[in-house]
Subunit: 114 residues, 2 copies
């Protein structure tokens, strides 16, 4: 099932700040690369450009991923969850990786289980 | 790199509501199953039991995943991201799936790209 963004937007629940979390997963390997936030405008741009655009909560502005670093993410597919309050973006990751630390994934630190 | 929870807790940034988002991924297939929220207590219980425990924002209580549905999630590994504000939990999903709709993943609806 695939629906146009206009039909979906009423089902996407942006939070009190107008944001929804977006999980970014590498399409080819399944590796979860990062989580960032989108507002409606960044979601629209992501769909139009087929390239991830987020909303930076700290800088309070749109953030086209890779614009400065070159680590752009081409979008292969985009999903929203049963509650409509989380997005999943499957991408082709370019450059050295998704993380500003230089790691491929932002989830490079493990917590020991008890 | 793997560190005990006590050493990590100071690096985990719970939001103003005391919560952190937790992405749940199937360990074997890499499929992203769901996203839910944890507070410190549910994170501790998840690590101790090696089974996911979340915090339900709607019910305002701990929520041991699968307690009523049988769709429990055994934790294989647990990660926190570069900013310390998102968790990634790799699990073995039992029962019919992660989603209350009966779907295996909560991300079963696709948005058409432009």
């Amino acid at each position: 099932m695939s629906a146009a963004l206009e039909a979906v937007l009423g089902e996407v629940k942006f939070n009190a700040d107008g944001l929804v979390p977006a999980i970014v997963q590498e399409d080819e390997t399944g590796e979860v690369l990062m989580m960032a936030w989108m507002n409606e405008e960044s979601l629209r741009l992501t769909v139009e450009r087929r390239r991830t655009v987020f909303y930076s909560r700290s800088r309070r502005e749109l953030w086209a991923k890779g614009d400065t670093s070159g680590d752009i993410q081409d979008v292969r597919s985009l999903y929203y969850d049963c509650d409509g309050d989380t997005l999943l973006v499957r991408v082709v990751q370019h450059g050295k990786g998704a993380c500003h630390t230089g790691n491929r994934t932002c989830f490079f630190r493990e917590i020991e289980l008890g």
